[in-house]
């Protein structure tokens, strides 16, 4: 039954939403003016424009490549994302606080889980073996990069943690620390400290590679897992639990993996809309990357469109994974096929992809935590 107070609250929610979107359209002109200011100023400028350059390190080169309209589209996109986020937050609070309190049930207790201790050695071994597969030849990469120290330009936190390319001796220390911390995390009984060191050393490894210009997204979910997993080990080693350990940090890793896929999906929708799948986009990508399998697939126009549509659906659907466990039977195989296809058709990544390796966090059963 619809009460008058429910109606008032609904009208308030609708009114605030309308105000939000009016504000969005009003600010479009302002964003155009700001974009022009940013593009016509040099990086040396002090004040807020230098912060924009800090945040977008590629802007200095890209403004030489692209016309102003390109950046105007980006500015509008930025404004759209802020408005969309505000709308999502407004909807969340309206639904869970004063419209449909039962909405909370979907996510209440999500993190109140535990895991049987017998599974912990398997998770630890699989996670740190994945890390080993990624970094085992890091010293060869480091050795090569030393020849090109003139090209090293750290960005973001790299400016603080690694302002210049370290010497070979330091690079050996980072490499040795990585391997030692992986081994001690797998084999020694107390693991949380070595797991934290492994995460930090892996961050340094990536900062060195990224200092040469390209951020590699292939390591993202592995990095998230390595950063959060020490909290799980710390909690499980802190107290002598009988048979189970609190698994909120494992659920957090699941959420971060699911969100990573979700962001991949909505980035495509925000950036390109339906054109991402309702056009010749995949065919163009396949032609650009020029692999034998990709070129033969590019001949099948309708199949390419359906495959593109399937990719966006699959990536957006990952968000349900932490909530509905049974979805893993569909989504995890779909994800594995997607990464393998991206490797074979677009030459993206390799046979081993840390993204599917991190599915290990969905393989072990979690159970509701007993309340004392």
């Amino acid at each position: 039954m619809i009460t008058s107070s429910f109606l008032t609250r609904s009208l308030l929610y609708a009114g605030l939403s309308i105000v939000l979107w009016i504000l969005y359209f009003q600010l479009l002109d302002v964003s155009a003016l700001l974009t022009h200011d940013i593009l016509s100023s040099s990086k040396a400028n002090k004040g807020w424009i230098s912060w924009v350059h800090e945040l977008y390190p590629r802007l200095a080169v890209e403004k030489l490549r692209f016309p102003e309209s390109f950046f105007l589209t980006k500015a509008h996109q930025l404004l759209l994302r802020f408005t969309w986020t505000s709308q999502v937050l407004l909807t969340y609070f309206s639904f869970s606080v004063f419209l449909f309190p039962r909405f909370k049930k979907i996510y209440a207790g999500l993190f109140d889980t535990c895991i049987q201790n017998k599974y912990i050695p398997y998770i630890t071994t699989l996670l740190y073996t994945s890390l080993l597969l990624v970094v085992y030849n890091a010293i060869i990469e480091f050795n090569g990069l030393l020849y090109f120290s003139a090209f090293y330009h750290p960005v973001g936190i790299g400016k603080l943690l690694l302002p210049c390319l370290p010497s070979l001796a330091i690079l050996w220390v980072i490499y040795g620390t990585l391997l030692t911390s992986i081994a001690t995390t797998i084999f020694l009984p107390k693991k949380w400290f070595s797991a934290s060191v492994a995460a930090l050393a892996f961050i340094y490894y990536q900062l060195i590679l990224f200092g040469f210009g390209k951020y590699d997204h292939g390591f993202s979910t592995l990095t998230y897992a390595l950063l959060v997993y020490p909290f799980f080990l710390w909690k499980s080693e802190k107290k002598s639990f009988d048979t189970t350990s609190p698994a909120w940090s494992l659920v957090l890793i699941q959420c971060l993996i699911a969100l990573s896929y979700f962001y991949c999906g909505i980035e495509k929708l925000f950036t390109s809309g339906a054109a991402w799948f309702y056009s010749d986009n995949l065919e163009q990508h396949l032609l650009l990357h020029d692999t034998a399998l990709g070129l033969s697939l590019a001949q099948h126009e309708v199949l390419c469109r359906w495959l593109s549509f399937g990719v966006v659906c699959m990536q957006c659907s990952f968000i349900v994974l932490p909530f509905y466990k049974k979805s893993r039977y569909v989504l995890l195989p779909a994800g594995f096929i997607f990464h393998t296809a991206a490797w074979l058709l677009l030459d993206a990544g390799g046979w081993f992809n840390p993204w599917w390796a991190m599915y290990l966090f969905f393989l072990f059963p979690l159970q509701p935590q007993e309340t004392k």
Binding site: V61, L64, R65, F66, P67, F70, K74, R81, T85, F111, I140, E141, F142, N143, G144, L145, Y147, F148, A150, F151, V155, G156, I157, G158, Q206, L207, F212, G213, K214, Y215, H217, S220, Y224, L227, V228, F231, W248, L252, C255, L256, L259, S260, Y263, C264, I266, E267, K268, F270, T271, S272, A275, W276, S279, D280, N281, Q284, H285, L288, L346, A348
Partner: protein, 127 residues
């Protein structure tokens, strides 16, 4: 209101994973996942830079095949940066200084660019 470590860690990681999407930029170790998000035709200037080694007999090989720690995508980013900053000469000089090339070998930087839907190749530098 009291906060424990669990709440802080969960809030921090969920928030930080969202900010790159909101600001449309990577904030390492938190990334924006925009790989392949733009349609090929929407990019005003689609281009690739390749860095190759030319031997005395005219044969060529991608520099990345020499186990230098940089793959083709890294070399693409680096060549693009130095090209647009007008420093391609410095770029090739530094590559030659690395000692990875024999005396009779040359560095060549090529730009592959789409013009009116057709791929064109421009050799920018041979040194």
């Amino acid at each position: 209101m009291t906060f424990n470590i669990r709440q802080i860690v969960i809030f921090f990681f969920l928030l930080m994973s969202f900010i790159p999407f909101l600001l449309m930029t990577d904030l390492f170790p938190f990334m924006r996942f925009a790989m392949f998000a733009e349609t090929v035709r929407a990019i005003p200037q689609k281009e690739f830079f390749t860095v190759e080694v030319l031997n005395a007999r005219g044969g060529s090989q991608s520099l990345s095949e020499r186990q230098i720690g940089l793959d083709d995508s890294h070399l693409n980013y680096l060549a693009r940066r130095y090209y647009y900053n007008g420093q391609l000469d410095f770029f090739s000089t530094e590559l030659k200084k690395s000692g990875l090339l024999k005396d009779n070998e040359k560095i060549t930087v090529t730009q592959k660019i789409i013009v009116n839907g057709e791929w064109q190749k421009h050799v920018l530098l041979i040194k």
